[in-house]
């Protein structure tokens, strides 16, 4: 049999130099991570902060996590201090190895029972919260939520008690009445997504072929930001959502407007020309309820023939929303957006319901989107690479619109209120 050679002196020196370098690098990485974590906690503009509940469901989670974090933090500090002390106190200083002992039943049982008791107490309260959050029997309003790459669709079934006498379909922003137990019935058209508005509740996966429920309730009118939290492909990071809570009176106005009949632009206007461009290009995927073709027939979008997920956002009342492109972009300019987001709760509803007008329209982002959508939001929309999806797009393709067509479309979209 062969025998292994011994470590040479030069090898040992080289290895020790490498060890020192690795140790220094690790220390720097550790310090930088700590500094980033510390500085991150100083953020003031954190709309997705899980520690600031704005509704009873999120409050339930917060009431559970605060004491758990506190207890875990104290235990963590105690353990860290004891380990640090032991490391310092019994550091190798050349002293003889102390006597080795095995088995301290009393200590071991104590150290097993105490964590078990702590976990049991945490478990009892956790189960109570889980069951409370899973309740559906006290629902006051139902909204169907469907995820797809990379946007959310909201569909309000007929609910006469809320004035919803015909289905409403929207995207980007979930509009709900304040102080109401809303139940989301979630599903997905393609891959697994996850719906999360941190200020209103925890997250819930949207799974193809299944209906999962999530309770939402907001205490105050306002906009609550969220984010898809299940990796779902190229633009997962850009799959955002906003829940808009309106007072019940304002919600009724919103419902009435959503159900209002389509108003075609006046003849001879730029918007009317934009309607023609929309009928030629956009209606292949995007539905505008009530829009008619030149022959008087209803224009029916066919996203099932063009988009992998089988759906594209319904744009019927686009300018009543504040976002587009899966809530990645604001439809409002910064100043107008701030005016809505930072409005007092008493004024919020009126400002939100005002929608988007020409003065407030974030025309730059909208035009960039219409000019070449895949350039501003990563999507599998290259026609040359669609063999795997039978020629269907994932997301919006570059339509090759002229600047003139874009002018017309922007004018038309502004009428969709």
């Amino acid at each position: 049999m062969n025998h292994r050679g011994s470590f040479g002196t030069r090898d040992a020196k080289r290895l020790s130099v490498a060890k020192v370098k690795v140790r220094r690098f690790s220390q720097r990485v550790l310090f930088a991570s700590g500094a980033i974590a510390l500085l991150g906690s100083c953020a003031t503009n954190a709309p997705q902060d899980t520690w600031q509940p704005k509704g009873p469901n999120a409050k339930m989670i917060d009431d559970l996590q605060q004491p758990v974090f506190a207890v875990a933090g104290i235990i963590g500090i105690i353990v860290a201090v004891v380990i640090a002390y032991a490391m310092w106190r019994y550091k190798d200083r050349g002293q003889p190895i102390p006597e080795q002992t095995h088995g301290k039943p009393a200590l071991e049982i104590t150290l097993t029972v105490i964590p078990a008791l702590i976990l049991a107490v945490v478990g009892v309260f956790t189960f109570r919260v889980i069951f409370d959050l899973a309740r559906t029997d006290d629902t006051e309003m139902v909204i169907n939520v469907t995820g797809q790459q990379w946007w959310w669709e909201y569909d309000y079934p007929v609910q006469n008690e809320w004035g919803i006498t015909q289905p409403i379909i929207s995207s980007g922003q979930l509009v709900m009445p304040v102080g109401t137990k809303v139940l989301l019935r979630e599903t997905s058209r393609d891959v697994i997504h996850s719906y999360w508005i941190p200020a209103l509740n925890g997250k819930r996966d949207a799974v193809p072929g299944r209906i999962h429920t999530l309770r939402l309730e907001a205490d105050e009118p306002g906009i609550y930001a969220g984010q898809c939290t299940e990796f779902c492909g190229l633009s997962h990071a850009n799959m955002r959502m906003e829940a808009v809570a309106l007072s019940k009176e304002d919600f009724a106005k919103w419902v009435a407007n959503q159900q209002a009949a389509y108003q075609a632009p006046a003849e001879g206007t730029l918007a009317k020309e934009g309607e023609a461009v929309f009928l030629n290009q956009c209606v292949r995927c995007h539905q505008v309820d009530g829009l008619k073709r030149a022959d008087g027939t209803l224009a029916i979008a066919a996203p099932d023939e063009n988009v992998w997920s089988g759906a594209a956002p319904n744009l019927t009342k686009l300018m009543t929303r504040n976002t587009f492109a899966g809530a990645m972009f604001d439809l409002l300019r910064d100043a107008c957006r701030d005016d809505v987001w930072k409005a007092e709760s008493t004024e919020f509803g009126a400002k939100y319901l005002a929608g988007v007008d020409e003065a407030c329209l974030n025309v730059n982002d909208l035009r960039a989107w219409l000019r070449n959508a895949p350039e501003v939001k990563p999507m599998y929309a290259n026609p040359a690479l669609l063999a795997d999806t039978n020629g269907k797009y994932r997301g919006m393709p570059n339509l090759g619109l002229s600047e003139s067509d874009i002018d017309k479309l922007v004018a038309y979209l502004l009428t969709l209120k």
Partner: protein, 377 residues
């Protein structure tokens, strides 16, 4: 500085980097293959770093004792794999994939054999080292492949002979297996040559039968069923269908998270949905998305639920008349299920309700005046 191990891993790392660059340049960026190759490269970089840091475990490279090197078939198998791989690039993907498998398997065997031959000066120990590394892989793989061939061959026999003959063949074969197993159990000292011989004869017999079965083709009723599409063709009338309703599932596996549970109780059809405290007559369903309904029959007759798919359907879903006179009209349905049973029905509505000439509905043939409206916004 660089010894055998580090050279090997650095070479593999370089090859992997070149493969990744070639893939990104010539095949596709942002594809799964690129991600996988990046992972392979990262892993190899890590392994190379480890091997260099530990200085190949400080092992000393001994001059190889040529007498310990045995003849190897693996270079030949590797070449055969490469031929298959190249052939696959021209002919069909399946040859390419098979070529990759053969090349990887042969390279693994070759590498381990080469390594084992220089492990020590003792040929017996070297062979034992090779077995220790490779047998845990070789035995399951060979057993799986062998069983796969036997099962496939037996399935050809069963598909070729009549149903009653198939039952007899199954009984005979299982009895033989039991008998031979019993003999092996009571005579543990049986010579291994006899045991091996019996197994080989059995396997060869089944494979030969399978080849014969494949040559004879499917039995007549299976050919007819395949042509007619009996087992996928849905007949949604009130009456019992000869094929579609055969052995209806009375229980349900897809029990959780349906879009709605449709109940027929006391002649009334209603939809139960999570979040709605009262039974509903309208169900909202997302467009272009498979949704599952569960139909529960509390009627004392056998009933089925029929979902109309509307006048506007997805491209390629046209109404087709089959030669047996049945028609896959624009509807789909559950099987007839008895009282107390339930069955799932998954439906995709490609077009919205406004595109339809009439409302989309869920109905039960034979139950008049009852329908659940399906709204597809």
């Amino acid at each position: 500085m660089f010894k055998v191990g580090s050279k090997l891993f650095l070479g593999l790392t370089g090859f992997s980097a070149l493969t990744l660059v070639a893939y990104l340049v010539f095949v596709e960026r942002l594809a799964l293959g690129g991600v996988a190759l990046s992972m392979v490269l990262a892993t190899l970089i890590g392994l190379s770093a480890v091997v260099i840091i530990i200085n190949d475990g400080d092992s000393e490279v001994q001059p190889r004792d040529v007498s310990l090197v045995r003849a190897s078939m693996w270079p030949l198998v590797t070449v055969a794999g490469i031929v298959l791989l190249v052939l696959g690039l021209v002919v069909a993907q399946v040859y390419f994939i098979f070529g990759i498998v053969v090349v990887l398997a042969a390279l693994t065997e070759w590498l381990v054999q080469s390594w084992s031959e220089s492990a020590s000066d003792d040929a017996t120990h070297n062979e034992s080292a090779r077995r220790r590394v490779l047998h845990p892989i070789e035995f399951p793989v060979i057993a799986t492949l062998g069983l796969g061939v036997i099962i496939f061959a037996f399935s050809r026999i069963m598909l070729a002979i009549s149903k009653s003959a198939g039952a007899v063949a199954f009984i005979v074969l299982s009895s033989l297996v039991l008998l031979v197993g019993a003999i092996f159990a009571v005579r543990p000292a049986l010579k291994s040559a006899i045991v091996g011989g019996i197994c080989v004869v059995g396997a060869v017999g089944i494979i030969a039968g399978g080849i014969a079965g494949q040559g004879a083709g499917l039995r007549a009723d299976l050919v007819e069923a395949a042509e007619e599409g009996h087992y996928v063709h849905r007949e949604c009338g009130e009456e019992k269908s000869k094929y579609f309703d055969k052995k209806a599932m009375k229980t349900l596996s897809l029990r959780s998270n349906p879009v709605a549970i449709i109940e027929l109780r006391d002649g009334v059809l209603s939809a139960l949905m999570t979040g709605f405290n009262e039974p509903q007559q309208v169900v909202n369903v997302a467009r272009g998305n498979p949704v599952t309904f569960i139909f529960r029959n509390f009627d004392d007759s056998e009933r089925r639920m029929v979902a109309s798919l509307g006048s506007a359907m997805a491209p390629g879903a046209e109404v087709v008349d089959n030669k047996d006179g049945h028609s896959n009209a624009n509807e789909t349905c559950t099987q007839l299920i008895p009282q107390g049973a339930e069955q799932a029905l998954t439906v995709t509505y490609a077009k919205p309700s406004i595109a339809q000439d009439a409302p989309l509905t869920l109905t039960v043939p034979g139950v008049e005046g009852q329908a659940i409206e399906v709204v597809v916004p």
